[in-house]
Symmetry: D2
Subunit: 130 residues, 4 copies
C-alpha cells in the first residue's frame, strides 16, 4: 500500500472534506503572505465529538526542487466533549486556519487534512512569484 492511495480528493464545491487553499496566485519574493486553509467552505463538515476534522497540514514544493517543505501542521483539538459526555462542553474548534510563509521561488502548495472517520484528503494550488 502506498500513501498516495490513502488520500482522496474532489471538487471542494461538491465534496465537504476537500481542503480549500486561499492565497494570492502570485506573491512578492521573500515577503511573508497569508494562506488560509479551510474545510467545508461550500458544504459544511460536521464538528462533533464523534466526527470532526482533526488537522490540516500545508506543504510547499518549489518549482524545480526535488523535495517538498512542510510549512505547518495545524491541529483542531476541541470537539465538544466534557466530563458530562460527548457534545456537552459548547467548546468547538473550527477546522480552518490562516498561516503565513515566504519563499523566493514559485511552486505548488499542497494541503492535506484528516477527518477522524473519513480519512485523508488533499488539494493543491500553484503559487507564482511576481
Amino acid at each position: 500500500m502506498k500513501a498516495g492511495e490513502l488520500y482522496q480528493t474532489a471538487d471542494w464545491k461538491n465534496e465537504k472534506h476537500v481542503p480549500v487553499i486561499e492565497c494570492p496566485d502570485s506573491v512578492a519574493a521573500d515577503q511573508m503572505f497569508d494562506v488560509k486553509v479551510t474545510i467545508g467552505k461550500e458544504i459544511s463538515h460536521p464538528n462533533t465529538t464523534a466526527h470532526h476534522i482533526a488537522w490540516i497540514k500545508l506543504y510547499f514544493k518549489p518549482e524545480g526542487g526535488k523535495f517538498p517543505y512542510e510549512i505547518g501542521g495545524f491541529f483542531f483539538s476541541a470537539h465538544g466533549a466534557s466530563t458530562e459526555g460527548p457534545d456537552t462542553s459548547s467548546v468547538y474548534t473550527h477546522h480552518g486556519v490562516t498561516c503565513s510563509f515566504k519563499t523566493s521561488k514559485p511552486g505548488t502548495l499542497l494541503a492535506t487534512s484528516y477527518c477522524n472517520i473519513h480519512g485523508l484528503w488533499e488539494n493543491s494550488k500553484t503559487l507564482g512569484i511576481k
Copy 2:
C-alpha cells in the same frame, strides 16, 4: 520540578517571545470567532534554522469550570534549511496563526509557545460573552 516553573512571561511590548492574543474582548455565545496568536508583534523574533519559534498552543478555560480545553496546536515547520545547508531554502514559516472557535461560556484564553532555544512562554486574555 513543576511545569509552571518552565513557562516564562513578560510584557509582550518588551519581550519578543511572549505570545500576543488578539480577539474581541467579548463574543456572541456559540458563534465561531477568530483568534490571532503571534510572536514578535512589537519586537520581531528571529526565524532561522538554528533559532525559531516551533509552535503555539491555545487553551480555553471556561469560567467556573475545573479543566481547560485545548483549542489547537499550531506547528511552524519551515525554517530555511535545505540540502545546501542551514538558511538556504528561502522558505520560512511565520510564527503566527489565526484560528477560530466557539463557546457558550466566558472564560480565559491561554496561549503558550516554544522557542527551540529559549523554551516555553505564555500569555492569557479574558473572554466575555455578549
Copy 3:
C-alpha cells in the same frame, strides 16, 4: 491565569491521569537511552471516542541551564470512531510511548499529558549522568 495553574498532578499510583516516566535513574553521557511515558500504569484510564488521552509531551531541563528542551510530542489519534458511530471501529491507540534521547548533562525530565475532558497533567523525574 498562568499555565502552571492548569497542570494537575498527584501520586500516579492513586490518580490515573498522571504520566509515569520510566527510564534509568542515571545514564551514560551522550548515549541514546529509552524513556517510556505512559498514563494509567496502576489505574487504567478510559480510551473511548468521548474520553481519552490525546497526547503526551516530554521535556528535559539540564541542571544549571535556564531553558527546558522539548524532547518530543506524541499524539494518540485512534479512539474507536468510525462512520458507524462512536466506539465502533475497534481501532484504539494506547496512551503510552517509548522514545529515546541523549544528553551530556544531568537534569530533570518533565512529562505532560492531556485528557480531552480532564485537562492537563504533569510529572517529573531526575536524571543523572554516570
Copy 4:
C-alpha cells in the same frame, strides 16, 4: 500535484530515510500490541540542527475498509540547538518511537516520516489477526 507524488520509498536496507515498521506479522484481536517505527535502522540518518527527522506518523487501514485511521503522530523535537548556536546543547531526540494499538481486523500499517531537507518518506507492512 498529488500527495502521492511527494512520498518517496525504497528498500530501507539501502536508503536511510525509509521508516522501518517492527511488529508481529499477526496479533490477537482487540489486544494492545507494540509497533516500533524507526528511521535509519541499517544506515543511520544524521541528527543535527540543520538536518534531522522531524516526525513519524502511523496509519492503519483495515482490510475491506474504505478509510485509513491515524494511529499516532510522533514529533522529535530536540536537535542540538542552544543559545550558544547549532549543535551545542548535547540534547538530541532519536528518530524512532514505540507505540501500541489494538484492532479486531487485519489490515495494513503505513508509516510516513519527514526529513527537514529530504522531504516525505513512507513504508508499509501487512498485519494479520491470529
